[in-house]
């Protein structure tokens, strides 16, 4: 395998009982590459993400990260390997504030000999939160506010700022702009452009054709749990992609699939 491959999956499959949510996905992502995953609701996009990040255990198949075969026991392990994810469900704790959420599961602490009772370094975490929000241009009136008092868009901004705070080997965003206003969407897109400039690879799941065409190098289309197309942006356009999404067309190499 050539060593500029960030992520590779082979025959990645997930069945929920009788539901074949993901079937035989072969996927590749190269260094510095930004790839979009598109597909209708229920096509298996989020399921694909959950198998890579260890949120769920796959039914079958293999995953390599930077050439190393991996099978993450949980999202923490994925994160320790440099995979940062904005989940579609956001994964925020409503009763906690912004710094708490940004650092949840990887708190900065001191007196670490106290084990689970080690002390939180609130000051440093708050400062880093402010820095991260400034860097990403995310606007939140009061970071000490609990998440439950925030608008859907602000919540999403927090979830995105969380991934952007920590340098990663691979960033995955599952519909990061689904609930955002025009300005916030532009901000998130800017964050994504920054990642591109810094050469950080990205998998972007989105239903927004304009956004996808603007931002990524390649589009992978899912339909009913299977990959049905792998299109370089230069070789395609919106109408073409829609045809693959709806099933009017299927990529030559995927004939016989859904």
């Amino acid at each position: 395998m050539s060593d500029d491959i960030v992520l590779k999956t082979n025959d990645l499959t997930k069945h929920y009982g009788g539901v074949h949510a993901l079937e035989g996905a072969n996927f590749e992502l190269r260094k510095g590459e930004h790839v979009a995953i598109m597909g209708d609701n229920g096509a298996g996009k989020s399921t694909f993400v959950r198998q890579i990040t260890g949120v769920e255990q796959r039914t079958r198949g293999k995953v390599w990260l930077y050439g190393e075969e991996v099978s993450f026991a949980g999202p923490l392990e994925a994160r320790e390997h440099g995979v940062e994810t904005v989940f579609q469900t956001l994964a925020l704790a409503d009763d906690l504030d912004v710094p708490d959420n940004l650092f949840l599961g990887r708190e900065r602490t001191y007196a670490n000999w106290l084990g689970p009772f080690r002390l939180l370094d609130y000051k440093s975490m708050r400062q880093s939160t402010i820095d991260a929000l400034n860097r990403t241009g995310v606007k939140i009136p009061n970071i000490r506010n609990t998440i439950q008092n925030m608008s859907g868009g602000q919540r999403q901004c927090v979830a995105i700022a969380r991934t952007a705070t920590f340098h990663s080997k691979l960033t995955i965003m599952d519909e990061p702009t689904a609930a955002l206003g025009v300005q916030e969407t532009a901000q998130v897109e800017n964050i994504i452009r920054t990642l591109k400039e810094e050469g950080e690879p990205l998998i972007l799941i989105s239903h927004n054709m304009r956004q996808v065409m603007d931002l990524v190098d390649r589009i992978v289309v899912f339909r009913r749990g299977q990959i049905v197309a792998n299109l370089r942006k230069e070789d395609t356009d919106g109408q073409d992609v829609v045809a693959y999404i709806t099933g009017a067309k299927t990529g030559a190499e995927y004939e016989g699939a859904a």
Binding site: L76, D94, D95, I143
Partner: protein
């Protein structure tokens, strides 16, 4: 204070307008209840203008009626220790019903290792072990009691976290099991005659010292440690906590263990205070402990609540008890009033949630 108003997105945020902490409401309620009893002392014809809280006899050296203050807190201290634990369980969106019977079972077990050899020069008539278990250092019964509590808590936590039994059911089962253990331990007979050092653990104001000391420790733990943060995170959004890499199951086991160890310690203190252990001890303690947390503003759906709130909730129950005794209304009225207060607390909290700033 660092400036948190960065990038306000056109919104203004007034830093001086910190949100009114929930605990202030309970403190306010506490003061109102005290004032009501104070007024009742003045207006009720049979009360002869007695004061509830102030010292009316020797107004020279003290302002407050210290005896009453002590009783208010002493009578809730032991249940309060349990409440510190159940608060943590409820924050994770769980519940622990097993604490009352666990108090009894631990009292029996710990007391059995705290026996004196001679009672008034005669051999101890109630000892259930031989002389090897007599006059042991006080640390032995305490550690055995805490270990028993840790074991029960680990079982509770394992059933809740690993076998996904609803906490209500798992701890209801443990409720019966612990009461059974308490009865079985000495075939229903009480265990009495502890060593002096054991008695000291529950003597005088010691229960209050334990309660407030542990309250301070767990306040710090919940607010300033990773354990506390994860406890809130799990109750707030268990899925998010898991995705953030928190070992949710292990953490829950730890929370149930800590709660049961606190209940077990309450059993030690209670038996030391009473100088006896009986299988029927701690009846309804689990419910009163939960009531303290609820009055203290905890959310039974998890994620919200605090040790300060629970301590204030305990004080509210203590004041109501003392107050009813003060105005010479007996226990039946106390129970009715407490029931009313608990329901009122939840209604107020829901109202507050809907109108949150």
């Amino acid at each position: 204070m660092t400036d948190t108003s960065h990038g306000t997105g056109g919104l203004t945020f007034d830093n001086s307008k910190r949100s009114w902490p929930n605990e202030m409401n309970i403190l306010l309620a506490l003061i109102i209840i005290v004032v009501i009893f104070e007024i009742l002392g003045q207006v009720l014809p049979y009360m002869n203008n007695q004061s509830f809280l102030f010292d009316t006899r020797d107004r020279f050296d003290t302002i407050f009626n210290e005896a009453r203050l002590q009783i208010i807190i002493l009578q809730v201290a032991i249940i309060g220790i349990i409440a510190l634990g159940v608060t943590q369980v409820i924050i994770t969106a769980g519940i622990d019903l097993s604490s009352g019977p666990l108090v009894a079972a631990t009292a029996m077990i710990a007391m059995s290792f705290a026996q004196t050899e001679l009672v008034n020069g005669n051999p101890n008539p109630k000892a259930i072990f031989g002389t090897w278990a007599m006059d042991l250092p006080v640390i032995v019964p305490v550690v055995i009691g805490l270990m028993f509590g840790a074991f029960i808590g680990a079982v509770n936590g394992t059933f809740v976290a690993y076998f996904r039994i609803p906490p209500f059911i798992a701890t209801l089962g443990m409720f019966l099991i612990c009461r059974g253990i308490a009865l079985w331990w000495s075939s229903g007979r009480p265990v009495s005659f502890p060593t002096e050092s054991y008695k000291f653990l529950g003597s005088g104001m010691m229960p209050v010292v334990w309660f407030l000391g542990l309250a301070v420790i767990f306040h710090i733990i919940l607010k300033y440690t990773v354990y506390g943060k994860h406890t809130y995170a799990i109750g707030s959004n268990e899925e998010a906590a898991r995705m953030s890499g928190i070992n949710v199951r292990r953490h829950k086991v730890m929370v149930y263990m800590i709660a049961s160890m606190l209940a077990a310690f309450a059993g030690v203190v209670l038996s030391a205070k009473a100088s006896t252990a009986q299988a029927g001890m701690g009846e309804f303690y689990e419910l009163f402990a939960i009531a303290m947390a609820v009055i203290g503003g905890i959310s039974l759906t998890g994620g919200r609540g605090s040790i300060i709130g629970t301590v204030l909730g305990a004080m509210v129950l203590g004041v109501i008890r003392s107050g009813f005794t003060f105005v010479k209304l007996d226990g039946s009225y106390q129970l009715m009033a407490m029931g009313g207060i608990i329901i009122a607390a939840v209604i107020l909290d829901q109202y507050r949630q809907r109108n949150r700033a």
